[in-house]
């Protein structure tokens, strides 16, 4: 059989292969040749064959049949054989293969060999792939070699010891005595590996850490020598003496100085010296500076040193080299938590990095920018971040959008700015906004009551052009549904109001429904919005009915269900429609800040979040309130004005105050003069408690008996009670008015007044007509706050038209059951 080809020939041959298939063929042929050669037990060429096998293994082809051959090579006496054998063992064998244990004896013998190169080979192999059993057996030998004076062996033994400790941590103590003189060496190789060994031991065991703290002065001295020593050709890299060792020592100092004042103090000088003396023109110097900065930030350094470190990072940021900028941004991100002010100084540079071409740098700059946003710089930063959002890659958009929302929420200087920012994000990155952002945004919008008209106008304009971005369309649809009446009425203080007809609004909502781009969720939003508009729009109710009935046969189950239910609302439950589709009250936030917190941070007066929607056919409340007051005169009963429209707040408040003098108002509309506004601001907690996220019907009614509060002339009013389980001082009374006469009672208005110690809130009635013959009822909800748990008393006034004449009546209700107020 001809001599097997040399490794070089093989490589040359393989490189000539033009396709993957050709290469595979060549390799298979060669593998076959090698296999037959192994079978022949040919000693002379074994080494060559194994070398070729290793090369093929590196290219990715299986080579496990060579493992035993490696063992045979190791056992051979020739150095060239041993060399390839150990290399093969390192590459092909590891603790997963059972044969590796056969090596143990060989390695043991070779560790005691007379030639240092053989000993070196054995140490390398053990340090590379030694299993825990092998390490346990051979640790003693390694430890012996650690104490030898031969620096070639000492450095290899140190690295082998690192591996042993990683595999068998219990053996760490064995190496402790050997480490005593390790740092006294002159040889950099030994120094370097010793520092690695010490680092490994300190990281694994706090006892070792405490023990090695006493080495800090020695390490400082070594580092000093490195810096101060002149040119040494052996260790020079671009003008700096052994930068790799310097970096290692700095890292060890970092570990030793962490959380320890004495060590940190001992290091201060040398760190300052390294920071100032290192040359920064080449990458080497910057690598050392980087390590120094990391060390300074991690130990308990004095503030001057920290400022120095941050300034170094600032200088890095201005450097042209991308690598350095990347590294600087990463470190600044780590330090922004602790040294916030110092990092703020470099904010403009960081913001410039947002425009960099490199993806990694942009990501770092974005994260850092979010960390640096605060109340003072929010406007400027947000401008930059929005610009970044416009132009960045898609993988960033979601994170950037979420970050912007968070920052805006925390630091928004005004509601209008906040809404504008949200709009901007929705329009530029609308499809990348996370799904959970939509409810948060909606909640935010409901909170800013005075901005509703502005918001809905802007959202409408946004989706007019393009309704493909789902989160944007969802928010817009919801707002249009809620505030559609504001949109059509053309009242907007913040911006030039646009003229929109009801048909145009319905057009856009219908196109959202029809569009292929809308998801099922978006369609649901649009359909509900259309339905809500049936109470807010006046001329297009028929069109809405038609749309809703079409979707009653939609394939999408969710849409179908909604449409069918809404249809039923139109047909059977029309009298409840307006009550059901009223404006939503302000939602309480489930997470950290309640709406009241948002009130304070925004610094603008938040009107008391009452029901703002007027009753569908609400008569002028002011005149009636005056009537009530006339009647009540000097009683100590506080009048209640049913929910008034927000359009004329000031005058109503003024008149009432004139009449009332010192009587406090409840439920008064917004922007009332100061005496009235004081109780208002203290009210929100109460009102929110009462309005807490659950609807009324969920409150547990503890079986409180209902009473007939009034029954006269065919008009009967019944009170049913519920106690709120979230706030025990609140009683929820539902009144039901029924008419047993043969003619309807129209323009029915119910008013109530309670003593001063109580507070009362009257919600809108379901309608103003009490149908005849008890065929239907008007329902209305009253909430009473009774903090002192006094007996409930109430005066009621009823006005209605019956048989062509206006009727009114006053009554007092005293028969409240005790469970309703105790």
């Amino acid at each position: 059989m001809p001599a097997p080809i040399r490794l070089r020939e093989l490589i040359r041959t393989i490189r000539t292969a033009r396709t993957q298939a050709e290469e595979r063929e060549m390799i298979q042929k060669e593998c076959a040749a090698i296999r037959s050669s192994f079978r022949e037990e040919d000693n002379t060429y074994r080494c060559r064959n194994v070398a070729k096998l290793l090369y093929m293994h590196m290219l990715g082809y299986p080579a496990h049949f060579g493992q035993l051959e490696c063992l045979k090579l190791i056992a051979s006496q020739k150095f060239t054989d041993k060399r390839i054998g150990y290399l093969g063992a390192m590459l092909l064998l590891d603790e997963r293969q059972d044969v590796h244990l056969l090596m143990t004896n060989c390695i043991k013998n070779d560790l005691n060999h007379s030639t240092q190169f053989v000993q070196g080979l054995a140490l390398c192999t053990l340090g590379c792939m030694g299993s825990s059993e092998m390490c346990r057996d051979l640790a003693g030998e390694v430890e012996k070699l650690l104490k030898t004076s031969n620096s070639y062996l000492r450095k290899k033994a140190a690295l082998c010891a690192v591996h042993v400790i990683r595999k068998v941590p219990e053996l760490m103590e064995m190496f402790l005595p050997a480490t005593k003189n390790l740092l006294n060496e002159k040889n950099h190789g030994v120094l370097h590996t010793s520092v690695v060994l010490l680092t490994e031991m300190c990281e694994r065991s706090p006892d070792m850490l405490a023990h090695f703290r006493k080495l800090v002065p020695q390490l400082v001295r070594i580092l000093k020598n490195l810096i101060m020593s002149g040119y040494s050709p052996e260790h020079d890299v671009s003008g700096i003496s052994d930068p790799f060792l310097q970096v290692r020592i700095l890292r060890l100092l970092r570990i030793l100085g962490r959380n320890d004042d004495d060590s940190s103090e001992a290091m201060n000088d040398i760190l300052a010296q390294v920071a100032t003396n290192t040359e920064t023109s080449k990458n080497v110097g910057n690598a050392i500076l980087y390590e120094t900065v990391l060390t300074i930030m991690d130990i308990k350094s004095e503030s001057g040193l920290r400022v120095l470190a941050i300034n170094i990072l600032g200088r890095f940021l201005l450097n042209n080299d991308k690598n350095i900028r990347y590294v600087a941004l990463t470190s600044l991100l780590k330090t922004v938590q602790t040294d916030h002010n110092a990092v703020q100084r470099h904010r403009s540079t960081i913001v410039d990095c947002l425009k960099d071409l490199d993806v990694s740098i942009k990501r770092r700059a974005m994260e850092l920018s979010f960390a640096l946003v605060n109340g003072n710089n929010i406007r400027g930063m947000m401008k930059e971040l929005l610009y970044f959002l416009d132009s960045c890659e898609p993988e960033f958009k979601a994170d950037c959008a979420s970050g912007i929302f968070l920052a805006a929420e925390k630091y928004a200087p005004s509601k209008r700015w906040h809404i504008d920012t949200i709009m901007r994000v929705l329009t530029t990155a609308g499809s990348y906004v996370r799904d959970d952002a939509v409810p948060n945004l909606i909640q935010l919008i409901t909170n800013s009551v005075e901005m509703h008209a502005y918001t809905v106008q802007r959202l409408y304009k946004a989706i007019l052009g393009d309704y493909s971005q789902q989160p944007l369309v969802q928010v817009a649809a919801w707002c249009i549904g809620e505030y559609g009446d504001l949109l059509v009425s053309g009242q907007c203080e913040e911006e030039e109001p646009i003229q929109v007809t009801e048909d145009e609004v319905l057009d856009i909502l219908e196109s959202v429904l029809i569009s292929n781009m809308s998801t099922s969720v978006t369609r649901g939003y649009a359909l509900t919005a259309i339905m809500k508009l049936s109470t807010r729009f006046t001329c297009t109710v028929n069109r809405i009915k038609k749309v809703v009935s079409i979707y009653g046969s939609s394939i999408d189950v969710e849409l179908q269900q909604r449409a069918v239910e809404y249809n039923a609302l139109f047909k059977k439950y029309d009298h409840m429609r307006s009550a059901l589709l009223e404006r939503m009250p302000v939602m309480e936030k489930v997470t950290t800040n309640g709406p009241t917190d948002i009130v304070q941070t925004n610094g603008e007066t938040e009107p008391a979040p009452l029901e703002t929607k007027p009753p569908p056919s609400g008569p002028q409340p002011t005149s009636q309130a005056n009537d009530l007051l006339d009647l009540l005169g000097g009683n100590d009963i506080t009048p209640v004005i049913p929910t008034a429209p927000t359009s004329k707040p000031a005058s109503a408040g003024g008149e009432l105050l004139d009449l009332l003098g010192d009587i406090t108002l409840t439920g008064a509309p917004t922007a009332a003069p100061t005496p009235a506004s004081v109780p208002q601001i203290s009210q929100p907690p109460f009102l929110l408690d009462g309005l807490s996220s659950q609807p009324l019907f969920n409150d547990i009614s503890a079986g409180i008996p209902s009473i007939t509060a009034y029954s006269k002339n065919g008009l009967k009013i019944e009170f049913t009670f519920e106690r709120s389980n979230t706030n025990p001082s609140v009683t929820v009374i539902t009144i039901q008015a029924s008419n047993s006469t043969e003619l309807d009672m129209t323009d029915f208005v119910f008013q109530a007044a309670v003593p001063k110690t109580f507070q009362l809130q009257l919600l809108s009635p379901s309608s103003s007509i009490v149908p005849a013959f008890n065929t239907g009822t008007i329902t209305q909800v009253i909430k009473v706050l009774n903090p002192q748990k006094q007996q409930l008393r109430m005066r009621i006034k009823l006005t209605y038209n019956h048989k062509g004449s206006a009727m009114q009546d006053l009554a007092e209700v005293n028969n409240f059951p005790p469970q309703s107020w105790q």
């Binding site: 590196m58 990715g60 890292r251 990458n283 690598a287 390590e291 990347y326 590294v327 071409l357």
Partner: protein, 106 residues
């Protein structure tokens, strides 16, 4: 800690690979192709450090050859960058024809 050390040419052929942690042999080729793909897609304007899965890749280009080192989080990237160059210089000293060998790669 260095996880692997690769020398790969522009066509994706591995010239040298050393793994310091066990990686399955079939996964190795996959890793190598992915690594070289991310290195090739970078322009000279961009920095030499890439985040790849849970490694950081530090690469340096010499003619048609890429030297890529995969490290974990604890390493100083710039020191490794310098180390790569040091390695090439050592090869140069030892084999004395490294530069011409590299251009042979074309």
């Amino acid at each position: 800690m260095i996880k692997f050390f690769l020398m790969v040419n522009k066509q994706g052929q591995t010239r040298l690979s050393k793994y310091y942690e066990h990686v399955d042999i079939n996964r190795r080729t996959l890793l190598e192709t992915e690594v070289i793909k991310s290195c090739l897609s970078r322009s000279s304007e961009q920095c030499s450090f890439i985040e790849y899965k849970d490694f950081k890749l530090i690469y340096r280009q010499y003619a048609a050859l890429f030297i890529v080192v995969g490290v974990n989080d604890t390493e100083n990237e710039m020191a490794i960058y310098e180390f790569i160059h040091n390695f090439v210089e050592v090869l140069d000293e030892y084999f004395s024809r490294v530069v011409s060998l590299l251009t042979e790669e074309w």
